[in-house]
Amino acid sequence: MSKVIGCDVGGTFTDLILLDEAVGQVSIAKVPTTPDNQAVGVMAAIAQVGADCAELSLLLHGTTTTTNALLEKKIAQCGLITTAGFRDVLELGRRTRPNSYGLIGSFEPLISREYRLEVPERMDADGNVVTALDEDAVRRAALELVEMGCESLVIHFLHAYANNSHEVRATEIAAQVWPNSHITYGSAILAEFREYERGVAAAVNAAIQPVLARYLDRLRHELSQAGYDRDLLVMQGNGGTISSAMVAERAVNTVMSGPASGVMAAAYTGARCGFENIISYDMGGTSSDVGLIQGGIPATSSELQLEYGMPIHVPMVDVHTIGAGGGSIAFINDAGMLQVGPRSAGAEPGPICYGRGGTEPTITDANLVLGRLNPDALLAVDNPVSLEQLRQRLVAVIGEPLGLDAEGAAAAILQIGNDRMAGAIRMVGLSRGHDPRDFALFAFGGAGPLHATALAAELAIPQVLIPAKPGITNAIGCAVADVRHDYVNTLNQPLADVDMDLVHGIMAEQIALGRAVIAAEGVDVEELVLLHAAEMQFQGQSHMLRIPLESADIGRAEIQAVFDEAYFNRFDLHLPEIGTVLVTLHTAVIGRRREVALAALMDPGLRGADLAAAERGRRQVWFPGGWQDTPIMARDALPIGARFMGPAVLEQLDTTIIIEPGNEVEVDQAGNLLVQVPAAFRE
């Protein structure tokens, strides 16, 4: 029996969960994130649960170090050595602009132009050498970049996905003069065509590699000082973990790992509640993250974009961030229409009710005025704003122009905010031909459970699943995460002509690579799981459709059949006239870790004998039908197996859960809430 820690560093809080399997006990910590050195917060969280590091068998860690470094541009100085004639690829991008309308806006590449040098070399699209590599030029360029003070080096050559020999040789040469190990070559990160996307992936990797390495060194040092002598596993954007000893080489894989761990927790929890198809919904202060899980497997994508001009085309859990959160600002536009978001009050000044100087009404303020959030709890935080002041502000900004009182204004904000969020979820999750009735909505994050039942009704999703500890879902995602490595190779050949031995050979090699890495990591895994996929298209198309492949020795006809069916489901089209192209092959090698019991997440000591024992009072709460006298219950005190009807407000330390009238709640054996939600309309 073992003690396992999952620890997730978020923007505001560092969350930690300690699973002591010997005694079936769970401890939880939540401490402020320490942005300058996240290790301080991690150690504080370990101290808070009172864990003895020497007794831990495994620590799994999700860090926002790399994502933040990229968004805040606190990155290492990188140099680029690239094919002659192409040093501006990273700056020119794919000829776009930040917004469809409006011709104002700017873009700064990760590597500024003076740090981008060219060397004579050239491959063609078939991988034939057109111009031999000028090895002296590589040496000179590397030395020049060292002299300019570069810490990290990118080597990115045209068509290296087809033939990487020049990149590999240039890397060897540069390594002779480079003062550290921070050299990334493009095809090692992404063996796919498209020079901008591959180059950005390599540049991202190089820009954050030293930052991640430094951080992990500090954390490992702190941990070993405290007596921890096992491996540290780091969460990746693909939803799996990797040994901290190896992760720096693939630093790009840790980008967006935070949202991925939330989706993994959703899949894990959902599977144990009998839900295979889930939409995960994590609502925070400024934005919300939406993920799609089908058949128990989170959807992955190789086409995510961190921000404008920063595509990250390594395989990742397909999480869509939508610009709506508790801090989304409501305003009246020039047409006299009420709008909510996408502008956000963020954490500073935050909603009006935080009392930090915010003057613009937000979704959180609306929830407070409507009694959906507890006024006593929120207004007491650190401020002098009274509920009356808040109501006056709502009337002045929103109510008067629309002829509404404070409650009317708040209700309008809530409904329009919910409509925007539902619309965004529909676009990312349901518009691709999925039937909402096949799904459950998994709500977490500080504000997810506050809106989930209303959103589900709006989307005709019949069930909402609210986990035991919605506020630490990402840490749970780390604790339960498997080890995972993804491999992608480009084929780009007509399916009818492609050499199937080549197809099978590529997948066999991908499997072998993954097996070898997992063996080298030495993590205790119970079994290896292999997921194969292909990206395909009809001949002449630009867009690809990703389809799952059942096995690594799948036949040509089966691939064709899977693609045809998937294409029909997505687009309602049969195109027998046109041939198909097998563009890429993808293998995920997953090392399954032992099952982690989540029932212990709820403290039985807090559980009430019956529902009445869980009730903490009543207050007036607004619902679409009007105000209702509503019971306020302590979520931790709900008895296992209890069933009850809404309306109700369930409060717990890390979130507030709204149960709308007509919803039916069941508390399952692990303490999760299953809420049956009638649709707001007939489908």
């Binding site: 700056e91 794919r94 000829r95 469809s100 699209a125 065509f193 409509d419 518009s431 001949q539 867009h543």
Partner: protein, 569 residues
């Protein structure tokens, strides 16, 4: 529109339905784009989907992901279809590409479908997609030297391609036997019709939920409010007259520049656009049909006020006098293939130039403003198959109060991405020798223009024919408020030891090239904003360090403002 109906709509329902109708269009846009074969639709997103009024085709809602130039055109073409439609039954879909009936150029093929709700036509759903080819003298349709529309391709009046949901094989056969790459175009036809059916399903669900009367009332109210919002934006412009001028290099046939003269009057809260002093109709394909001329004005206003939603109300305060007798009011059989891609951008440039003094914080210097269309056709000896490659490149955007212009931005009328060099080299027998930022091309100013692109393409084997439909070869994108113009577009071909430069600089057709020849293109930089002497010296130094400009260029462009040696310290 009836006030009494509008009054029944509450604020929440109105906002919800506005979002809901937009989403119907967005889903159509996505379905069309993702399933399309034409790279112009799939990659360049050269398509648009919308919902139109059943009586007059007035725009109700249009996808936010659609190509900007279509903001205004589709209501004109839908109106034409409605006027000519007869014997309608559910499942009918009209196809039309006649430019003179509310269109752009022949390649923009529109489909329009009556949408039935509870047995009655509630509205029309329409979309436009840029097909890869519609026949005519040159593959792709952009003939730089056409003098009649018949040379530009197959022209379809509104005809029912689908009757009661079933494709009319005979009409489809006529279409397919008059165009190139017919087999892939079948995929585009199906994708385009399927997108309309996606809209049909979503709109039915919306109506089921909210009811016909409520949705109708919301539509009326949204139109009124869009007009209100546009007028609130226009209110920032003081009453008076504003003039803008822009130039098209030539019409591709007669080597003379075409002038666009725009006079805008602001009075009584509305804007009046007069283009009647522009050049007369031209011989070559740079004539603009009225739908495109109007749409270019609407598009320019949307670029200035991006927050205004698009529906018929948005256009109510914008009054455009028909510029009869000019090249901006093309009539049959004037050739028009350049109107959507090039002339429309010059019209937008004139709008920007006219209004920049009134809205100096909103506006910007002129963007590169050309689609940079380069086509290369030949036989690929690797598989002995003919090919046609299109390359659309970007250029620099203009500086603004908010900063320097963007480099390699897409055309004013587009939102498209460029195909990667690696994809182009896979598909065609070419080798890029260079794809680079065009140094020195951004116009000087307090905020300089963004940079264009320089590329060089070598033909690796066989022979080919190169065609160009570009612009700004004679006149650089305008600088404003004291800023300098951006660099002009340049085309050059090195053929077996001699240099060929097109007579019309930016437009030419069927230039023969052979193995080893190299085509050089440099796209325009953006115009500068404000006087160069006001530029922050630190930024000038940075630009030299990055190699954006040489020391000599900086000295010439920024004069006394620069520090003694910008490369030092």
């Amino acid at each position: 529109m009836s006030q009494s109906k509008a009054a029944k709509i509450d604020h929440v329902t109105l906002a919800v339905l506005q979002n809901g109708l937009n989403q119907v269009c967005n889903e159509m846009d996505l379905a069309f784009q993702r399933a399309a074969f034409s790279p112009v639709i799939a990659e360049a997103m050269d398509r648009s989907d919308g919902i139109y009024h059943r009586d007059d085709g007035a725009l109700i809602a249009q996808g936010e992901l659609g190509l900007p130039i279509f903001v205004g055109t589709m209501q004109f073409s839908t109106r034409t279809v409605i006027a000519q439609a007869k014997d309608l039954v559910p499942g009918d879909i009209y196809i039309v590409n006649d430019p003179y009936l509310g269109g752009t150029h022949l390649m923009d093929v529109r489909m329009a479908m009556p949408f039935y709700y509870q047995g009655e036509i509630f509205c029309w759903l329409s979309n436009t997609g840029h097909w890869r080819d519609t026949g005519g003298a040159v593959p792709g349709g952009f003939s730089a030297t056409a003098t009649e529309v018949e040379q530009e391709g197959l022209r379809l009046p509104p005809v029912k391609l689908y009757k009661g949901g079933v494709v009319d094989e005979e009409i489809q056969a006529i279409v397919l036997s008059n165009i190139r790459v017919a087999n892939e175009t079948i995929g585009d036809i199906k994708a385009q019709a399927a997108a309309l059916r996606v809209g049909e399903r979503r709109l039915t669900a919306l109506l089921d939920r909210y009811g016909r009367d409520v949705v109708e009332a919301a539509i009326d109210e949204m139109r009124a409010r869009a007009a209100l919002q546009m007028r609130a934006c226009i209110a920032h412009i003081p009453d008076g007259q504003y003039n803008g001028v822009s130039w098209v290099d030539s019409d591709g046939v007669v080597d003379e520049p075409l002038k666009i003269v725009l006079e805008i009057e602001k009075r009584d809260g509305d804007l009046y656009f007069d283009l009647s002093k522009s050049s007369p109709p031209c011989k070559g394909p740079m004539n603009s049909v009225i739908a495109t001329t109007c749409s270019a004005v609407y598009l320019a206003m949307k670029h200035i006020f991006p927050e205004v939603p698009i529906n018929a109300g948005t256009f109510e305060p914008l009054h455009i006098t028909d510029p009869v007798g000019t090249f901006l009011y093309a009539e049959y059989p004037r050739p028009v293939s350049g109107c959507a891609a090039e002339v429309s951008q010059r019209i937008a440039e004139a709008v920007f130039a006219a209004l920049v003094s009134a809205l100096p914080d909103r506006l910007f210097a002129a963007p590169a403003g050309t689609s940079g269309n380069f086509a290369l056709g030949g036989i690929d000896q690797r598989h002995d198959k003919p090919y046609v490659m299109y390359l659309f490149t970007g250029g620099g955007y203009g500086g603004s109060l908010h900063g320097d212009g963007l480099s390699n931005g897409c055309s004013t009328i587009g939102i498209s991405t460029m195909q990667p060099v690696e994809v182009l080299e896979q598909r065609y027998p070419i080798l890029f020798q260079e794809f680079a930022l065009r140094e020195g091309s951004g116009g000087a100013g307090q905020q300089r223009g963004g940079f264009g692109v320089s590329y060089a393409i070598q033909l690796r084997q066989g022979w080919g024919r190169a065609s160009f439909v570009m612009d700004h070869g004679r006149f650089g994108p305008q600088g404003v408020l004291g800023g300098a113009d951006g660099a002009v577009n340049k085309v050059r071909i090195e053929r077996a030891g001699d240099t060929y430069i097109p007579l019309h600089l930016s437009k030419d057709q069927d230039i023969e090239v052979a193995e080893g020849d190299v085509i050089y293109v440099s796209t325009p930089g953006g115009g500068g904003y404000g006087e160069a002497r006001l530029r922050d010296a630190k930024l000038i130094k940075r630009d030299v360090q990055r190699g954006y400009y040489s020391v000599a260029q900086v000295e010439k462009l920024w004069g006394e403002n620069i520090p003694p040696d910008p490369t030092e310290g």
